[in-house]
Amino acid sequence: MGRLRKRAEMSSFLYFIILEVIVFGMFAYAVTTKVNSAVKDTTFVRRVYSRDLALLIDSLHSANGEFIVNYELDRPLDFAITPQRVIFFDHSDINVNKRPFSAFLFGSNGYVNVTPTWMNESRLVYFLVSSNNTISLPAEVNRDNPSNQDYEPRENLDGTITLVAKEMVDK
């Protein structure tokens, strides 16, 4: 009787240990997956950059003189500057309007022109130029290998963006 009881206790203890290992394994997998997805997610980064660049353009509207701002990203992101807002997208080949994005508004007026710009070059360094009442993000145009530098974003009434080809200008 004592041996039987002891065997029953041992087996239930073993089942308990197995169950705990399975539960902790599931927990560790769930937490690791959650943390990995949070690390890879670009939502926070897109929001920071969209707000930062929009507020920078906002403050450049009152700039008196010529400014060239060296703007650096910590990862490749695509972005569009329209006359009213800055929009950051994840860098990919998916259609622009189907990608997750983060946007932020800046105040426009009739005195300063903001050049609509679309950037998807995987670069990390850009130059924001404020000169002669115009704010722009100039990029070198490579006629041999035209890229999306040759397109500018047009905002539609429904909030989507259409990329329109710019007229090619000789260097």
């Binding site: 029953a8 902790f24 769930a30 939502t43 800046f106 105040g107 009739g110 005195y111």
Partner: protein
């Protein structure tokens, strides 16, 4: 037969005894997962910076409320021209596609008989300021409410060709949603 029944009963009894601990372990692990989920933040609050940028944009912009030299085009942010200090001038400085993005009230105060009195006030997006100001002043927290940021700075202002001293009080209201 009796021995097997005793064995099964012992096992079942042990499982029933362990059940509360299993449930507690499960609940604790779920709560840890929920805590980790809550601590992952992706929101970025830039409202104080928006108010600062808006304030200095209005002070430093040409064709704004501040005195601008006609010959050089230089702007003097500490000197306000009362003739240009009105809703029309301020509204023309910034246009947002979302009207509620930012609204503000600017007041020029002057010292009279030992008390601060209002000399003149002007608004940026006056309609939305008057709608959101009660919410912001009440301190209500929620998606439909607003936050108020106040800046005060000493300025000079030009009234009828004379330079007067006073304070500029700027109240910025930004909606939480």
């Amino acid at each position: 037969m009796r021995r097997r029944e005793k064995t099964r009963r012992g096992t079942v009894e042990n499982w029933i005894e362990q059940l509360p601990y299993i449930i507690l372990t499960g609940v604790t692990l779920i709560l840890i997962y929920v805590l980790i989920d809550m601590l992952i933040k992706t929101g970025v609050d830039v409202k104080p910076i928006q108010a600062e940028v808006g304030f200095y944009r209005i002070l430093y912009s040409p064709n704004a409320i501040t005195y601008q030299d006609n010959l050089t085009g230089a702007v003097y942010p500490g000197v306000i021209d009362l003739l240009k200090f009105n809703d029309t001038t301020i509204d023309a400085l910034m246009k947002y596609s979302y009207e509620k993005q930012l609204c503000a009230r600017f007041r020029i105060m002057k010292m009279q008989n030992g008390k601060w009195v209002l000399e003149k006030e002007a608004y940026f997006s006056k309609v939305w300021f008057e709608r959101l100001e009660p919410l912001a002043s009440a301190g209500i927290i929620g998606l439909g409410s607003a936050q108020k940021f106040t800046k005060i700075m000493p300025i000079d202002y030009i009234k009828d060709g004379s330079l007067m001293q006073g304070f500029l009080q700027a109240d910025f209201i930004l909606p939480r949603s």
